[in-house]
């Protein structure tokens, strides 16, 4: 019997999750509601079966996710009987931080980067699972699976622990924490194939449907609720669109598409060749931007 690439990736991810649960004192799984999170959660259900995953899910919310994402999140949590912690940066609420008046950089920094640090500190989590993959971006290709953060949540690319075989050194000093990436060796195609093969539930926004959008700076932005300020004379268009990646709706570009089944999505992905982060407005600054963000504590 020969294992397929998906079986080997699955086994590796499960191994990593069990190792963290065995060695960390207070682990948590970051749940962003996207397709990578969906796969990570599915793997966690497998890793600890018949027990439930022995850690809560943490959603660092910005208040600007798509409505479908909130509905999906709550449905998954209740269906699987998991604990969910939702954290919204209170400072962001007080100052009414939003992507329209403050721009994507400040919004992301305060609501996501700062919000995540706050939540980890508040609950004293010493290990946080994240769904990042090495194929997403070049600086991630060099990050370890167990990635250590100082008590100030900083990442130092120069002093990473070597990871040999399946051996992960999870020891840390008080106050230090680790981010663990069980999907490190998956590619976007692997994720989609696995979702297809394992029938992993995902947010309906990934499938094409007729939705109200406006064109902004070359991107199609969905008018998901009444908070979206329209420019004078701007009228939402009804277009058949879908999302390759999900985040805050004002920062996430839609693509026009007819793909309303998983095979059609995979087909579209393989034929169009536009890498997934292009839809994320935050990545457009510079090639080294993700590395900078990561050193500052962004996931």
């Amino acid at each position: 019997m020969s294992l397929t690439h998906l079986q080997r990736l699955e086994a590796e991810s499960i191994h990593i999750m069990r190792e963290v649960v065995a060695e960390a004192e207070n682990p948590v799984m970051l749940y962003s509601i996207g397709k990578d999170s969906a796969v990570m959660l599915h793997l966690a259900m497998k890793a600890f079966h018949p027990a439930r995953p022995p850690f809560p899910l943490l959603h660092v919310d910005t208040r600007w996710k798509f409505r479908d994402m909130y509905a999906f999140r709550d449905e998954m949590v209740s269906k699987l009987g998991l604990d969910l912690i939702v954290h919204i940066n209170p400072e962001g609420i007080a100052k009414d931080i939003n992507p329209f008046t403050h721009g994507s950089a400040i919004h992301t920094d305060i609501m996501k980067t700062e919000g995540l640090k706050q939540a980890l500190d508040k609950y004293g989590f010493d290990a946080a699972f994240g769904g990042a993959r090495r194929d997403e971006e070049k600086s991630r290709a060099k990050e370890r699976i167990f990635s250590f953060r100082t008590a100030q949540h900083r990442w130092d690319p120069k002093s990473q622990r070597p990871e040999l075989w399946k051996l992960y050194n999870a020891r840390k000093h008080k106050g230090e924490s680790m981010r663990v990436f069980p999907l490190s060796n998956w590619t976007e195609l692997d994720i989609w194939q696995y979702i297809y093969l394992e029938k992993v539930p995902i947010v309906p926004l990934y499938f094409a449907a007729v939705r109200p959008v406006v064109a902004r700076d070359g991107a199609l932005i969905m008018v998901d609720d009444e908070r979206m300020p329209l420019h004078p004379g701007e009228v939402p268009m009804m277009k058949k669109v879908r999302f390759r990646t999900l985040g805050c709706y004002p920062l996430t570009g839609a693509v026009e598409s007819e793909a309303d089944t998983l095979p059609a999505i995979i087909q579209e992905m393989l034929l169009t060749k536009t890498s997934e982060r292009q839809g994320r407005v935050i990545d457009h600054d510079s090639a080294a931007s993700m590395e900078k963000k990561k050193q500052e504590g962004y996931f």
Binding site: S2, H5, A11, A22, A47, A141, K142, L167
Partner: protein, 635 residues
């Protein structure tokens, strides 16, 4: 291209079905900055159409900005990652790249070729089944080629492809290729590499990467991609090994279920199989292989599973479940190869944490047999291992572990060493075999024990472990304490630094490694004397926390009293009874504690003596009282 399926456009479902059955090959590429390694990987990504339009656009833009290929695309830019490296134009760490064809998904570990990065190459190679060694056709087999070959063979990679690159720069000449093949073969035989394939290529021009090269009609072998798509991935070999499951986590959702979760390190398991748990040696039968999608009829090496057993036996994280027919070994002393991975050198005698499978124990290197010169493969004598050094060492553990020789099984024979104070991963090791003495030397039972010996002396044995700078007053105070105790009729022994160095430890100097060994021996002697029922006083600088912790761990919790003779450096230097500080300041005495060798002060000593406010005699009286208070002097 053959491997980008037309099915994507015409029949996506059939394409997906075909792709669900792909295997996974992990391989490593080795070569120096100039061998065109990054160019090769970039080309594999490019040719397998795993690049997206925006990545291509970024590469084109970057090629103009940073590229080293003039107007042409610089494929290397697809691989070289972090900002600092990009500016230097070199790769400095292990980077993982991904591509896939119709037959396989590939994970490439890209590691740099510089001499000082042995650590990265060993890390990258540890998970791989195949290696691509880059050789520049103009330069032939170099020292670094030999080094890389040695490392990949050491790490147990069985399939090697020697990629003789830049053939375009030697006019695609067959004799150049042949000469390099011959050179390499004679060397490969020495280190036991037998599955070696040679491919002449040009990563830059694309010759023999995907398609056979029209410029080298004399070559009839496989292309690189052809090789990578068909080379064995090690699955079959591992499945033929005896069954091994290192237990990672015990799954107890309720009182009725007790599952043992882990990743199968070797062999195959089925319900009904007889298994033995190591190191306890207890046996049972596999009841179920439990998954969320239903029970399995069998599971194989590489799968992460949960087993239940027919009998209730005590199994915890770190134990190994083996087939009862051919169980893993169990021992606490080994011959190993160690690769040192940290700036702070290996110190024999210092306790490190050793992690193997899911088990973490304490280990010390008892003997460095020799260091291997990775360039010449010569054996050299060594007392320590520096960063990137490789040595054959004996290891002693504080308790037995289940193991297999690394050559049989990477996951039950490979381990890492962790520094107990910094928590850094400082070394990686491969088990050769268990030392016979660890299986044949057993503790001899004796009828007269420590308590019996102590009761005859009407005292409670212990160690008063003095630590402090040279000139702090350790010897003076220790001597007074012993005099007072002796006068009261107690049986004591004073182990003094200078005296011990005249005998037991006269072979040791003052390097960090020797200081560690000095303290290790003293700690062992102190332990024997405590066992003999004595009150032991030791007066050594003992500058490192790790060794004091080790000394403490050798005796019972209440038998070790750390006494910090706390004298500031300027006071100790002012006294300078032996004139040593002056010598050290003049540079005539190397490795002098406090001057050019560190002193790690105790963080929480049992007793602190401030010699600035207290005379030696007062200090001694205070210590005797303290010993009394702790019940150390019996009734």
């Amino acid at each position: 291209m053959a491997h980008i399926s037309d099915l994507i456009a015409t029949d996506i479902e059939q394409y997906l079905q075909a792709h669900e059955k792909k295997s996974l090959l992990r391989f490593i590429t080795c070569g120096s900055v100039d061998d065109g390694k990054s160019t090769l990987i970039g080309r594999l990504l490019y040719e397998s159409k795993m690049l997206f339009e925006d990545q291509l656009a970024a590469m084109e833009a970057d090629s103009k900005k940073y590229g080293t290929q003039g107007e042409n695309l610089d494929f290397a830019l697809l691989v070289d990652g972090l900002a600092a490296e990009r500016e230097q134009g070199i790769t400095i760490d292990v980077a993982y790249c991904f591509f896939s064809t119709d037959k396989r998904k590939f994970i490439v570990a890209d590691t740099p070729g510089h001499e000082q990065y042995t650590r990265n190459m060993v890390t990258g190679a540890s998970t791989d089944a195949a290696a691509v060694l880059m050789v520049d056709a103009r330069r032939g087999v170099l020292t670094q080629t030999r080094r890389h070959s040695y490392l990949v063979s050491l790490l147990g990679i069985r399939h090697i492809v020697v990629a003789i690159n830049k053939m375009d720069l030697v006019d695609y000449a067959e004799p150049v290729f042949r000469r390099i093949c011959d050179d390499y073969r004679s060397f490969a035989a020495q280190i036991g590499l037998d599955d070696v394939t040679f491919i002449p290529m040009s990563a830059y021009k694309g010759d023999n990467i995907i398609e056979p090269s029209a410029s080298m009609p004399w070559y009839h072998g496989t292309t690189l991609m052809g090789y990578l798509e068909t080379v064995e991935v090690d699955d079959q070999r591992l499945q033929k090994q005896p069954f091994r499951l290192p237990v990672q986590w015990v799954n107890r959702p309720n009182l009725d279920f007790r599952g043992f979760a882990g990743t199968i390190a070797g062999g195959v398991v089925k319900p009904g199989d007889r298994v033995r748990v190591q190191p306890s040696g207890k046996e049972s039968t596999v009841a179920r292989i439990v998954t969320r999608d239903g029970d399995l009829e069998q599971a194989v090496a590489g799968q992460s599973i949960t087993l239940t057993l027919a009998d209730e036996i005590d199994i915890s994280r770190g134990d190994v479940i083996s087939t009862a027919d051919a169980p893993a070994g169990s021992a606490d002393q080994f011959e190993t190869t160690l690769v040192w991975m940290h700036d702070e050198p290996l110190l024999p005698g210092r306790p490190y944490l050793l992690k193997i499978g899911a088990k973490t124990v304490t280990a010390t290197v008892t003997h460095i047999k020799y260091q291997v010169n990775v360039n010449t493969l010569e054996h050299v004598a060594a007392r320590t291992l520096e960063l990137n050094a490789i040595g054959v060492c004996n290891l002693s553990l504080d308790r037995p572990i289940a193991f297999d020789p690394y050559a049989d099984n990477r996951d039950t024979g490979g381990f890492i060493l962790i520094d107990r104070l910094s928590n850094n991963t400082v070394g990686a090791g491969l088990i050769h075999f268990a030392l016979r003495r660890s299986q044949n030397i057993h503790m001899q039972h004796v009828d007269v024990d420590k308590a019996a010996r102590a009761s005859l002396k009407h005292q409670k044995p212990c160690v008063l472990w003095f630590t402090g700078l040279s000139g702090a007053g350790k010897s003076t105070i220790a001597n007074l304490v012993e005099k007072k105790l002796h006068a009261h009729g107690y049986h004591t022994y004073l182990l003094d630094g200078d005296n011990v160095r005249h005998g037991l430890n006269k072979d040791l100097g003052f390097t960090e490694a020797d200081r560690v060994e000095n303290i290790r021996r003293v700690a062992e002697v102190a332990k024997l004397m405590v066992d003999a029922g004595l009150i032991v006083i030791t007066a050594f600088i003992s500058p490192f926390r790790a060794e004091r912790q080790m000394a403490r761990s050798l005796v019972a919790v209440d038998e070790f009293i750390e006494v910090f003779i706390d004298t500031p450096l300027d006071v100790a230097e002012g006294r300078d009874a032996k004139g040593l500080y002056k010598k050290a300041r003049r540079g005539e005495l190397k490795n002098f504690t406090g001057i050019d060798s560190p002193y790690e002060a105790p963080e929480a000593p049992d007793v602190r003596i401030n010699t600035v406010t207290m005379s030696a005699d007062e200090a001694a009286t205070y210590l005797v009282l303290e010993l009394q208070r702790r019940g150390g002097l019996g009734d």
